[in-house]
Subunit: 422 residues, 2 copies
């Protein structure tokens, strides 16, 4: 029973696309919201690969959570790491304080999965947070610096070999950007080496790139990458990652010596399911009811990559920003309805708006329903969409200028090799 | 004796203002230049405090050294840490390779000095490199986050107390920016605390701020800071820094409990003097001849903060960018003259162009010869000068937009609390 003298307490864990939407949907509800995140900023993950490839600065794709919800007075932002949830006492334990809740929204997202080989992580970082992006940028740029001074031929070749594992959108975008930087941006910057001799290899375990796209768009993406000098290898599974490179299985399994390896294959949900001891799928996503609540726990919602949900046709809802936003918004509305004693909204139904992936500096593949675009038009559309969805006028402006500048000059605005805490 | 069959080898250590100018001055000389730096980027130190206070991104005040000298084909950029110099064999030892030289230019700059108390460093970081700025930014922003969740009153007050040690240009600019962020930018971002209740304390050991400026401009700066809510304490010497705050000597010596302390007092030259076993002053600056060469070592030049030089009136040349540029340019020309067998240039004579310091978002003090400016006009002038001297059209543009945006909205574009390698 809720004590009528106090407003219901809503705790939202995670200020990603899902968590922010949930908070927004509760803007006018008579509740107190605690929005908890490990970081002080919301990260626009779709553009993180541009930070990793020195096109944008971290702050261009991040925005302080406090600034986003500044005017929503019923939200309190708490920068803290969640350590567990007491579902009986209805309390969220964090590194800073305990937070009692009447309603809990788990929007903790996902992280990259090494399919049980977490020991590969140090050699093949994935791309989920800003720190991942700046670390990949550091390795990527440092490889060229080292190659310029090293005397040993084989080592130089290893330094100039870049491997991207995973042919989904992130992998395709990373591979395209890496090849572009090597062949265009750095072209005239070295005296001993020719960056154009570097190799960019994109490994995909399946039979084609961008599996969620129609076949002909997958083929288009592959041809575009190959034109840019990316070596695309399909049906290739990685069997090992170490300090010197990657080992491959599949057809003619062999070995690639590479100093820089980026992991863009497979994700696994956060630990949220374990916190609440809920049923979850193989990827660790919480199994939820049609209203996104956890079975037996009507006060706990899971959204975005944290939830395992099927669309109308029984296909799993993809782990993309629009899906997370739709779920977050639904959870917020459902809570508001209950607090106000209004009828519950109809079961959650995912609306698939489409998908986009960019390939280098002036090509992209776009599929929105029957509407499809490729090439330069696709790239313009991709750019417009991403700038539109960026949070903050300043970020939109600065990103647009950076892109225009990069497009015209082939240069990159953030070629910074991080040291120490940078 | 130089082997006539090969071009003279010039090694320039440090790609700061002095080193870059030296390389530039040798653009048309028949020499091979190795430009060595620990970092891959040139850092525009005058604006570093804006990175530390979340106004600008690291990449906005940094530029890849390779991109700067891209078109100067006689320069080879080497990212490496110098470990020593063999003056007999004329070789520079680095973390990567050995570099033989016929001429050596030491432009290694300076770092902050704790006056023999290096144990204070972890508690009171200084501001010399980008990593320093992002670390100070992290501490500064994190203090507010912690204050929002902490229950203990005294600890909250400690978290909301910011101390800047040193009343020179950097200290004045840091203190002004900190007060501004606390009172304006963060004003509406917290629910439990009011950032306006935070304290910003500027400690100066001497009798006035900006000692190198005329007295009335020092007074103006002090009044401006006080109007912004900065507590300026003159004639106050720091006798200790620890995890909890700073201890003071001087008039009524006491103690300030503060979670965030920034060190902007005193600098010491790099280790260059030790590398070559040269005579140096108390700040570690190499004593040089009228032509900036080291006595007894006509092939070794020291410039910028690495060199101890007097101006026409016998006053030490200040450690500011224009001075470093003039010396670097002189050293380059002197080397070119010798290589070409031309008469040596007249002894180095420092031209003091003036000094500027900004105080918060729309005030500054400017002194160029008899020309002086204060207030808004001074701030406009300061802004124009700094944008003009920034390297790279993109940086100028992005910085200008960030400033305009901050000026209009009071917001900051880079409120990112770094984690791990960020």
């Amino acid at each position: 029973m809720l004590d009528p003298s106090r407003r219901p307490q809503v705790v939202i864990v995670g200020a990603g696309f899902g968590g922010l939407q949930a908070a927004k949907a509760l803007a006018n509800a008579p509740v107190d919201i605690a929005l908890v995140d490990t970081y002080n900023h919301h990260c626009f993950q779709p553009l993180l690969y541009q930070v990793a490839t020195a096109a944008l600065s971290p702050a261009d794709v991040a925005w302080p959570i406090r600034a986003i919800v500044r005017t929503q007075k019923n939200v309190r932002v708490i920068m803290a790491r969640v350590t567990g949830v007491d579902v009986q006492a209805r309390r969220v334990h964090t590194s800073e304080i305990d937070l009692p809740y009447d309603y809990l929204v788990l929007a903790t997202g996902s992280t990259h999965s090494y399919f049980g080989h977490d020991d590969w992580a140090p050699f093949a970082p994935g791309l989920k947070h800003i720190a991942d992006a700046t670390e990949i940028r550091r390795r990527f740029l440092l490889a060229f610096e080292r190659a310029e001074v090293v005397e040993d031929e084989a080592e130089r070749a290893r330094l100039l070999t870049f491997v991207v594992v995973g042919g989904g959108a992130t992998g395709v975008e990373m591979a395209g950007a890496i090849a572009e930087v090597a062949r265009r941006t750095l072209r005239h910057d070295f005296r001993r080496i020719d960056p154009r001799t570097s190799r960019t290899i994109l490994l995909e375990a399946g039979p084609r790139l961008l599996p969620s796209f129609p076949k002909h768009l997958s083929d288009y993406a592959m041809r575009s990458l190959q034109k840019m000098g990316v070596e695309v290898e399909l049906n290739r599974t990685v069997t090992g990652c170490d300090a010197h490179g990657v080992s491959l299985g599949g057809d003619g399994g062999n070995r690639i010596e590479a100093a820089t390896v980026v992991w863009a294959a497979g994700v696994v949900a956060s630990a949220a399911a374990l916190w609440i001891g809920a049923e979850h799928d193989r990827a660790g996503r919480v199994k939820v009811n049609a209203d996104l609540t956890v079975s037996g726990r009507p006060e706990i919602f899971a959204v975005g990559d944290t939830a395992s949900v099927l669309d109308r046709d029984g296909r799993p809802v993809p782990g993309i920003a629009p899906a997370a936003k739709q779920m977050g918004s639904y959870a917020g509305k459902a809570i508001a309805a209950r607090v106000l004693g209004q009828p519950a909204p109809a079961p959650f139904a995912y609306r698939h708006l489409g998908e986009l992936a960019t390939i280098g500096r002036k090509s992209a593949v776009v599929k929105l329903g029957f509407f499809q675009l490729t090439g330069f038009l696709g790239w313009l559309f991709w750019s417009a969409i991403h700038i539109y969805f960026l949070i903050g006028l300043r970020n939109r402006f600065v990103v647009a200028i950076n892109w225009l500048w990069s497009y015209v000059t082939f240069q990159r605005g953030a070629r910074l090799i991080g040291v120490a805490r940078q």
